[in-house]
């Protein structure tokens, strides 16, 4: 298809210059990049905290920090990663940059609101960090803030919940913006089932955000009422119920897991057809399974609490539903594999990351079933097994989905090519480090190694040390990958408009895209994944 170099001199990156033009821009692509730079910065900070924790655990006893510091680090690591990086992450970055383009629109429905959401996000992030240090207190509650322990730091918990709510509100507004954009701004001819699948996943995600985040608000109000009016909701000293807090926390935080993973699924769904030059297999099942996940995902939060003393019947109910919520994910995996099957498969870095996503996500999924089954959950709940499981899902899923996305869309965003060789090397280091870091934690968890442990029994030494080595390798891989991208964003060769021969709309406009995306809004006459002229030369 069109292989000519089409970098126009004026595009969204350079049509206005200066910091101020970025900070006040309502261009969805610029806002997406603002999110990306902030989120990547937070990610690196929290990753360093994780690395330090792993180094501490390389041997039993105190190695490089005290227990107090360790407890503070895992709290901060969790809060930054979950609330600031992973929940908003993919939707805010790639959703903002590509949703309007992929549905043939010039921007989102409410561009100013979009910019406002970004600043709300920054405010929430700032509050989140402040909550951990306010009142001279060092953070040590864990990102879950379970009462009554967290009640010792009650004023900080109020700030932290306010932060979570602010961040949640920012993503509600983004979600609302996306929902309206998708409903009203699709290009002429783009019926629902002609919409690409990444926008579909964003649509399902936006609904979860919209419906789940208010629960955080309610919890916040209850905590404030308890602290100021001494109404006992959660604190047993005031006649409250600590388990009620856990319910409310997970009613929000479990659906939040799908907020993290659904957009990543959407990203890889775009990548498989492009690099196979073959239509998506099972378009409708993939689109509907996103909605199914969003729906059933509301009713499984109790699987975080199988040991909390919940009633016999509720353990039964939550276990059964947890098993069922796995089905739509399995359907997606089979459809992705079938998309590649029979294609002309070109193993470029984005596909490498997307395939790793399938592998890591499948391991995360099966270990998730181990946690959904009550008997086995009793053994591995609150052990390293859980930590490994959610890193396979969140880092192996959302993280690798993000890496796949950035390697896929980088030439489009910056109009530059990165080094394929260094991208592959970075992937190799990262993937090896990842599995060395997290896999041993499954085994240690089954053997009984609890999580959030500063110190441990020497019998876990071998697994812990391997895990530390993995962490160092993983970190090296991250640095390699990111350096390659940053260097080539400045120095890379000019990218053509469509380097991977994709067929969705973002590949039909110049790289980088012009300020308002399309000179003329395209008219859509067929589905998104039709390859008339498959490209099969290297």
């Amino acid at each position: 298809m069109n292989n000519q170099t089409t970098t126009t001199p004026l595009n969204f990156l350079n049509h206005q210059t200066g910091l101020w033009s970025w900070l006040t821009s309502t261009d969805h692509k610029r806002i997406g990049l603002l999110y990306m730079y902030s989120i990547v910065t937070f990610f690196l900070v929290a990753a360093v905290l994780g690395l330090l924790m792993k180094i501490e655990k390389s041997a039993p006893g105190e190695t490089i920090m005290t227990a107090q510091t360790y407890n503070a680090l895992f709290t901060l690591h969790g809060i930054i990663m979950i609330f600031i990086v992973v929940i908003p992450g993919l939707a805010a970055v790639f959703g903002n940059i590509f949703l309007p383009i992929m549905i043939g629109a010039k921007d989102v429905a409410f561009p100013k609101l979009n910019l406002f959401s970004f600043y709300l996000f920054l405010t929430g992030a700032g509050l989140g960090l402040y909550s951990q240090f306010a009142n001279g207190h060092s953070p040590d509650t864990g990102w879950t803030f379970y009462v009554p322990y967290s009640a010792e730091a009650s004023s900080n918990v109020v700030i932290a919940l306010t932060a979570a709510f602010t961040l949640g509100f920012a993503s509600i507004l983004t979600g609302l913006n996306f929902i309206v954009t998708i409903h009203t701004m699709r290009a002429p001819g783009m019926s629902w089932f002609r919409m690409p699948l990444f926008p579909w996943s964003l649509y399902a995600t936006a609904w979860i955000q919209l419906l789940a985040t208010p629960v955080v608000g309610i919890t916040l109000l209850m905590v404030i009422a308890e602290r100021t009016l001494h109404v006992g909701f959660f604190d047993p000293k005031l006649g409250g119920d600590p388990v009620l807090y856990q319910h409310l926390f997970w009613i929000y935080s479990h659906p939040a897991v799908y907020v993290m993973i659904l957009p990543a699924m959407g990203v890889v769904t775009e990548i498989f057809p492009t690099f196979s030059q073959k239509p998506v297999f099972g378009y409708v099942p993939i689109a509907l399974s996103s909605l199914a996940i969003a729906l059933v995902g509301y009713f499984v939060w109790g699987h975080h609490m199988f040991t909390s003393g919940m009633s016999y019947e509720s353990r039964w109910f939550f276990s059964l539903l947890t098993f069922l919520v796995a089905i739509p994910s399995a359907i997606k995996v089979f459809n992705w594999l079938s998309t590649m099957y029979g294609g002309s498969v070109d193993l470029q870095p984005p596909l490498l990351y997307a395939i790793s996503f399938i592998f890591l996500f499948t391991i995360g999924g099966f270990t998730g079933l181990t946690l959904g089954s009550v008997a086995t959950d009793i053994q591995v709940h609150n052990t390293d097994f859980v930590v490994a499981h959610f890193h396979y899902i969140i880092f192996g899923g959302m993280g690798f989905g993000f890496f796949a996305g950035i390697h896929y869309w980088f030439p489009k965003i910056y109009g530059k090519l990165y080094s394929i060789r260094w991208a592959n090397i970075g992937w190799g280091i990262l993937f090896t480090g990842f599995n060395l870091l997290y896999f041993p934690m499954f085994i240690m968890g089954i053997q009984g190694m609890p999580r959030r442990y500063f110190d441990y029994d020497p019998k876990f030494q071998l697994g812990q040390t391997i895990s530390t080595i993995g962490a160092i390798i993983l970190f090296t891989g991250l640095i390699t990958m990111i350096s390659n991208l940053i260097y080539h964003a400045y120095k890379g060769a000019t990218a053509p408009a469509n380097p991977w021969h994709g067929v969705t709309l973002e590949w039909q406009i110049p790289s980088p895209p012009p300020h308002e995306n399309f000179d003329e809004i395209p008219v859509i006459t067929r589905g998104p994944y039709v390859f008339d002229n498959p490209h099969t030369t290297k």
Partner: protein, 310 residues
């Protein structure tokens, strides 16, 4: 220190059966998926396959790969449930032991003032543990027995098991409970009947009467920040506070005060007026609204007569 994997209680078999089933299925699927990926990458590589087929779906396949996973997960659910159900059916004649979790020690109350720091149980006898927390949430976990349940203040959580093999097994706390969470470990010791009876007869009746002041200190989680044994946590230790010289920082500068009745009252009611040197202001909140006057009297008396001594 035996066994990492082999179960040592009657409940382990059901749990392990669920593990084995889930992991076997996982193993087969993951191997199959990886094999298929390699097959695709080799057989349908761009070098080899210049004619990508353009099919885009197949309803029969979709039905197959929906129905088969549903059946498989339902079987998994069944195994998980079958392994768990007996954990909730405590035999009527099980021997009750009260487990007390407090920051950061376990103790085991056998009734009549007999309290042990290890959980010693007779072999092949049903044991029911009543889980009781004095402060925050804890989790009682014996990996070798495959049992775990949270220990939550105000909740009457419980668990039961029958130890089926003699030995010593680890207890871990699995609900994060603050500074020394990872030090909140213990041992289960399984003895045969005769040895157990002997151990039990030798177990001294400990003086169970907790000083009412200490009880209040515990209920209000003062021990999150203050230790009783001289360790510095977030605040100074209570050990040796009574009658000693306290160096405090006030608005006017440093000064020396005596650890007496008045000083302790002020420290509790207005903690940020004089701040103990080496510690931070603003951490301890005033307990004016929380503690009654007679509670504070009891705390002062506790320091005077017991906990505040050197």
């Amino acid at each position: 220190m035996t066994t990492m994997f082999s179960g040592a209680s009657n409940l382990a078999e059901g749990v392990d059966r669920a593990f084995i089933f889930i992991f076997s299925v996982a193993f087969i699927f993951i191997i199959a998926i990886v094999a298929l990926i390699f097959y695709i990458l080799i057989h349908f590589s761009r070098k080899k396959n210049k004619n990508p087929q353009q099919f885009s779906g197949n309803t029969t396949l979709e039905i197959i790969w929906t129905v088969i996973p549903v059946i498989i997960v339902l079987i998994m659910f069944y195994f998980g449930w079958a392994g768990f159900a007996p954990m909730r059916k405590v035999p009527a004649d099980a021997m009750p032991i009260k487990v007390i979790g407090r920051m950061w020690v376990w103790s085991f109350d056998y009734g009549n003032g007999k309290i042990s720091k290890d959980l010693v149980v007779p072999l092949n006898k049903d044991i029911k543990l009543n889980l009781y927390s004095e402060d925050v949430n804890h989790g009682f976990f014996v990996p070798a027995f495959r049992v775990k349940e949270d220990v939550i203040p105000g909740y009457n959580n419980y668990m039961w098991f029958r130890a089926i093999s003699k030995g010593t097994y680890d207890i871990f706390c699995t609900e994060y409970c603050g500074l020394a969470h990872s030090g909140m470990t213990g041992k289960v010791i399984v003895l045969d009947n005769a040895d157990f009876d002997k151990w039990f007869a030798d177990l001294k009746v400990s003086d169970n009467t907790v000083h009412p002041g200490l009880a209040i200190i515990k209920q209000n989680a003062c021990l999150t920040c203050h230790s009783l044994d001289g360790t510095k946590i977030i605040g100074p230790s209570f050990k040796g506070i009574w009658g000693s010289k306290r160096i405090v920082v006030t608005a006017q500068g440093e000064k020396e005060m005596e650890g007496n009745d008045e000083y302790i009252r002020r420290s509790i009611l207005d903690p940020n007026a004089d701040v103990v040197k080496g510690f931070n202001k603003g951490l301890m909140q005033s307990y004016k609204e929380v503690l009654k006057a007679e509670d504070i009297d009891k705390i002062v008396d506790y320091f005077k007569t017991a906990g505040g001594q050197k």
